[in-house]
Amino acid sequence: MDVLYTRESLRALDVAHDSPPPGRFPYTRGIHADGYRGKLWTMRQFAGFGTPRDTNLRYRALLEAGGTGLSVAFDLPTLMGRDPDHPLALGEAGKCGVSVMSLADMEALFDGIDLGAVSTSMTINSPAPMLLAMYLVVAERQGVPWTSLRGTIQNDILKEFIAQKEFIYPPRPSLRLVTDIVAFCTESVPKWNTISVSGYHIREAGATAAQELAFTLRDGIEYVQHAVDAGLDVDRFAPRISFFFNAHNDLLEEVAKYRAARRLWAHVMRDRFGARDPKSWQLRFHAQTAGVSLTAQQPANNLVRTAVQALAAVLGGAQSLHTNALDEALALPTEDAALLALRTQQILAHETGLAEVVDPLGGSYCIERLTADLEAEARRQFEVIDAMGGMVAAIEAGYPQREIAESAYRDQQAVESRARTIVGVNAFVATTHEPVETLYIDEAAEREQRAALDRLRRERDAPRVQTALNALKAAASGGQNTMPRVLDAVRAYATVGEMCDVLREVWGEYTELPII
């Protein structure tokens, strides 16, 4: 970062040419001409814990408090395609998110919530087809047509290999499942966002802003290429691809990152893939404030950090936003802390005047220069990864993983040497340690879920389950789209673990080479 940016800083950049008004290619300044005046961002708070019944109550509370979308946080067994009675799932059911084992749980999760009236995001990747199918069947039973459903399935497996590490199958069959969902939804659930290409986890794992931008967009390129290679028409599916970025502390760099992302994607879609529909060029994104920036020390400080990070997302034109709660370095948030996080967004939206003007920092020497620099760095990374044969090949070679591990270590060294200050941690340390009340998930959730699982296995139509699982296995072994078979298995009340297991039998499990 320079000490001062002037007209000179932009001399080499064709800013005037490349920054038409918002709503016009390449959308650097935003995808809508009227910004938030036309539609405010969606206040979508990620939540899930314990049993589906526990989480259902939290959702109702968030909607009653003015939240405008839902976002499901699943527990680790669900994310990893294991039923809670699997040995590796010991002690995990309901701990880090809500436990959803079968259609019965999905019905309980959305009990009393009209799926035709709410938009729902589901953070699920390896078992994405199973959880999406459950949501679709709940809609079916509520009498809501699939064509009117709005929501997002994360379905971004590449960043799992790169950063979050919730993978099951090897990269190539995993990518095929991603494309199965894209193809199925394009035909049958047309308003659904089929992939949320995510930089959030890449950043949390230690990436810089530039790395987050580059790896995320390169993942996006990989998905589009895979779908095109599978014979899909780019302008039919690309408009339903969305993005998910981190909102970190460095406010100006973050705003520039979102602007650079829009400009890059517009060019990629038009120039690399030949997309013609402007909807294919427009990068829409969700943002979440940086969990990794939260400190266990002096947790009230986290409210301030989150407010500044949320400000970056709003100045950068996010379509939807999650603000973290101040107690999240310690545990999942209490209801009070989660409500305060939502209020932070409501204050930004309704009290600051920020929603009145589009891209207010556009034209700033500093912001335009940072935008151009981030874009250039991302393009350099695209070339490196293209030369390796694409993102799957780069992942198999450990390239993005190594780059991120390096950044994470450098960052930690900067904290230790106090080159980077963290208030309350390596500076301005408090002498007293105030205990904070946190949400405690006891073992009852796991006990309840395991009992429910036993009951389900006793009461359902076992031959029907077996037939459906066999058909799923056959589809996976052959070339058919797996989604219709997953839907049949879900309707028969097959569990997430059972459905993932038949795919494990076909494709095996992936073990990564540990890189430190």
């Binding site: 995990e92 880090c96 993978f167 230690g206 310690l330 270590y409 930690q412 963290i422 205990p435």
Partner: protein
Amino acid sequence: MSSRIRVVIAKPGLDGHDRGAKVIARALRDAGMEVIYTGLRQTPEQIVTAALQEDADVIGLSILSGAHMHICPRIVELLREHKMDDVRVVVGGIIPDADVPKLNAIGITGVFQPGTPMQDIVEFIRGHVTAKVD
């Protein structure tokens, strides 16, 4: 003559957040220790077997998922069964204050909560472990 302190760093359970485990592994290595990182999703049995095979002085566990009260006792128990009581176990991650004395009581030597400097962990291990004499 004493050899270098040997540390097995492990990620038990289903959680994949490995930033902390990897950063610590590297810090211990840079501090002159011999570090073996097991990678993700190791069962307590696999971790203890790795410690046995590697003749480890220390097992360092990284647990962020809240499952530490299930995993740590099992590892301590397995170490006893294998007569490896001299292997120190330290754990880092999101560990609530209330669980720290409980973990110490079952035989976990060190518990490192969020924000602990890498240098403190290096010094703690040096202070509690003397590398086995060759």
